[in-house]
């Protein structure tokens, strides 16, 4: 027992220094040198200041923007009350509501009603009214984006076909037809939309 203390203790100390400081330190240096954009969070700059991370969703609301998925993120306000903080990436997570949750069913019903009001009747794309796993999902399904396109075009007085063309240009298709999903990055879509004349 006693003779095992020295190797065990020194291995712990050595591993902590090597795996906890030196190697991650060098790794960080290499990562920031070779891939500075990604290592820093894929921040998109406009006029010298960051406007978004290209891979983190943002809370665009109203008919003039493509709306992202519902975000379940909650935070606290100055008085300590729980408030919704959609797409605030200082925390992350899902609704964690059960399939038999009455709260979830009520939330989905109210999102469906508001969808119908803005985008018209019909079956609602699932991703438009269910909250994502991370709370900062940057993507929506292509079906969701195309369903929003006429309303967005109308609100911005743009030709619908131009907005649809933009959606299709930003959309990604599964590689080889099965690796990934057909989706559209809402942040990149809205940034491109803002440039449209």
């Amino acid at each position: 027992m006693i003779r095992e203390i020295r190797p065990a203790l020194s291995l712990v100390v050595l591993f902590t220094i090597a795996l906890g400081f030196i190697i991650p330190g060098i790794f960080t240096q290499v990562a920031q040198t070779v891939f500075p954009f990604q290592a820093g969070g894929s921040l998109i700059m406009q006029k010298g200041r960051p406007v978004a991370s290209g891979i983190i969703g943002q809370n665009f609301t109203g008919p003039a923007w493509f709306n992202p998925r519902p975000s379940a993120l909650m935070g606290t306000d100055a008085k300590g009350n729980a408030v919704a903080t959609p797409y605030d990436d200082s925390e992350s997570g899902a609704s964690n509501l059960a399939p038999t949750s009455a709260t979830l069913l009520a939330a989905i019903k109210s999102r469906i009603a508001s969808w119908h009001k803005t985008y018209g009747a019909g079956s609602v794309p699932a991703d438009a009214v269910t909250s994502s796993g991370s709370g900062v999902d940057p993507d929506i399904s292509l079906a969701n984006a195309l369903a929003q396109a006429p309303v967005v075009a109308n609100a911005r007085h743009l030709p619908v076909e131009d907005v649809v063309a933009l959606v299709n240009r930003i959309a990604t298709q599964p590689a080889l037809g099965f690796i990934g999903t057909t989706n559209v990055n809402v942040v990149q879509l809205n940034l491109a939309l803002a440039e449209m004349k």
Binding site: Q38, S53, I108, V124, V136
Partner: protein, 565 residues
């Protein structure tokens, strides 16, 4: 269910099972001390630490070394978590953890569980992640593989006393396996968008006005070992559902394969070590069949949208998207979560609390089987070996032959130790859940009402006892009862299982290797694979069926009867 979904599942299967074979042969060479490309570094470590890598250790010494290392680690990690506000790399100025949360977290990471009762973004500093948690991700994974190596050696020779040298195994596995793979995979992750930065959280200014916080940190290096060491502790709360931990379908494929591959490689390493590859393939096949059945089951369950939501007007086409990410869809989400519960990883890329009842049952059942499909790095292998011993014992009872496994007689002592280790797990899962659902403090931790609340608690106790670490994440885990209770379950789940296993290995190693005779039950056949799967399901699974029936299965029927809570 779609053709592309099945094609994706086939791709993960092919990549994992294919890569496991060369990796297994490589791990066998590491365990035999034949991989030497960092020999000077290795010698330096031995010199500094006063280790003689050739000193043989009996099972008792091997166990003492492992326990001592783990105890030292828990104490140091506890101190780091309590004192993180005084330690470097804390740009968010996060305060120290409470004693009970620090205990739970230190035990969680030392046991390769990675149960996270804390909210990472708010309760742990970059420094504590890096030199606290991440170090444990390497060491607990290496320790698991070392024990697997010790168990393999018990079958290699006749009448040996030694199971190898723990420190040499630990060092070699870290140097030649975990570290190189983590560095290469980590760089791929950075290239794909995973941040690696010591800067504080960034603030961006959206074009629609206001400000948005972007939580960056040294994530990529930790992400790689999180999967490859079957640890699963996310750098952020959303784990691999977060676009920073898992930005694209390609990183998702990499992470999914990384967390599975070593579990499948170890039986191959075993076959190579004992010179009988077919014996390894039997275990590999049993693991693959069970995991495959789980993935198919969960994919089928999640492909159906919630009937209540469809009735409310939602499109049924994609399936159940609550708690899932758009870029992954159903097939990649369910494959990942089932893989992470078939192993002891416990990472998630979608949230099981919102899975359909039967979709949520699959991860619970994968854990309850004992984490053998293919299990945690090392722990999956030594657990399935215990199942193999029980299988030859059951076969021996049925045909009246003396049970033998690979020329080693399996006697009362080994079977008693094997049953002891399983009963400890059963005790913690069932008694822990039972007490939680009758106590006030336990009930207040549930996030959802009705049978789903019971599912959440079954999940929590199963996950802790089996050292998985995933959760139906809505629960309030940071309560005195769950912090201390689940912490204790994690300790016993790891060490009260591992010590009897090392005792079995020591006992078998000392026995002479008998030549196979006509009375030997062959263990390299399809028949034995079937028997092994049967024993795993009956022993591992059925004892939990009554509890599971009251949770996920009851919820399934209530959901389709239109009941909500």
């Amino acid at each position: 269910m779609t053709v592309s979904g099945w094609a994706y599942i086939a791709l993960i299967t092919l990549l994992t099972l294919g890569a496991a074979i060369p990796l297994g042969l490589y791990i066998a060479r590491i365990l035999k001390g034949q991989v030497r490309f960092l020999a000077p570094v290795e010698r330096g470590i031995y010199a500094i630490c006063g280790i003689n890598p050739d000193r043989p250790m009996q099972w008792q010494e091997y166990t003492v070394a492992l326990l001592l290392l783990s105890v030292i680690h828990v104490v140091i990690l506890y101190a780091i978590l309590r004192l993180q506000q005084y330690l470097p790399f804390n740009p968010q100025h996060i305060g120290g953890m409470s004693p009970r949360l620090a205990f739970n977290t230190a035990v969680s990471f030392a046991t390769n569980t990675n149960w996270q009762a804390y909210v990472p973004e708010a309760q742990i500093s970059n420094g504590a992640q890096m030199f606290g948690l991440c170090v444990h991700m390497f060491v607990s994974a290496a320790a698991g593989i070392a024990v697997a190596g010790a168990v393999m050696r018990a079958f290699t020779a006749s009448s040996i006393a030694s199971l190898g040298n723990f420190y040499a195994d630990l060092t070699r596995i870290t140097l030649y396996l975990l570290l190189p793979v983590s560095i290469v995979a980590g760089l791929f992750l950075v290239w794909s968008g995973v941040p690696q930065s010591f800067a504080p959280f960034a603030t961006v200014h959206p074009i629609v006005g206001g400000a948005q916080t972007i939580g960056i940190g040294p994530m990529a290096f930790q992400e790689a070992i999180k999967e490859f060491g079957t640890n699963g502790g996310g750098f952020v709360n959303a784990n691999s559902a977060h676009p920073f931990e898992n930005p694209t379908i390609w990183t998702n494929i990499l992470e999914n394969v990384l967390l599975l591959v070593t579990g499948f490689a170890l039986p191959i390493a075993f076959g190579s070590m004992i010179g009988k590859p077919r014996q390894g393939f039997v275990l590999y096949a049993a693991m693959a069949i069970i995991l495959g059945a789980g993935v198919i089951g969960a994919y089928a369950a999640e492909s159906h949208a919630n009937p209540l939501h469809v009735a409310a007007g939602i499109s049924a086409a994609p399936g159940n998207m609550e708690g899932k990410e758009t870029r992954f869809g159903i097939a990649a989400s369910t494959t990942f979560n089932v893989s992470a519960t078939g192993t002891s990883t416990g990472a998630v890329n979608s949230f099981t609390d919102s899975y359909m009842p039967l979709g949520g049952l699959v991860p619970i059942f994968m854990m309850q089987l004992g984490e053998i499909a293919p299990g945690g790095v090392g722990s999956g292998f030594y657990t399935i070996i215990v199942f193999a011993l029980l299988s030859v014992f059951v076969a021996g009872l049925m045909v009246g032959r003396t049970p033998e496994y690979l020329g080693k007689k399996v006697q009362a002592k080994e079977i008693k130790l094997a049953m002891l280790s399983f009963l400890i797990l059963t005790f913690f899962i069932l008694v822990g859940t039972g007490y939680t659902v009758i106590s006030k403090t336990g009930l207040s931790s549930m996030a959802n009402a009705g049978p789903h609340g019971l599912s959440e608690m079954i999940y929590a106790w199963t996950s802790a006892s089996e050292n998985n670490g995933s959760a139906m994440a809505g629960i309030s885990a940071d309560t005195p009862w769950l912090d201390y209770g689940l912490g204790t379950a994690m300790l016993f789940g790891r060490f009260a299982f591992l010590i009897p296993v090392l005792a079995i290995a020591g006992s078998l190693a000392a026995k002479p290797k008998l030549p196979a005779s006509s009375g030997t039950f062959p263990t390299d056949t399809v028949l034995f694979t079937g028997l092994l799967i049967g024993v795993i399901i009956i022993l591992g699974g059925l004892q939990f069926m009554p509890a599971d029936t009251l949770g996920p299965i009851a919820e399934h029927f209530q959901l389709f009867a239109g009941k909500t809570y």
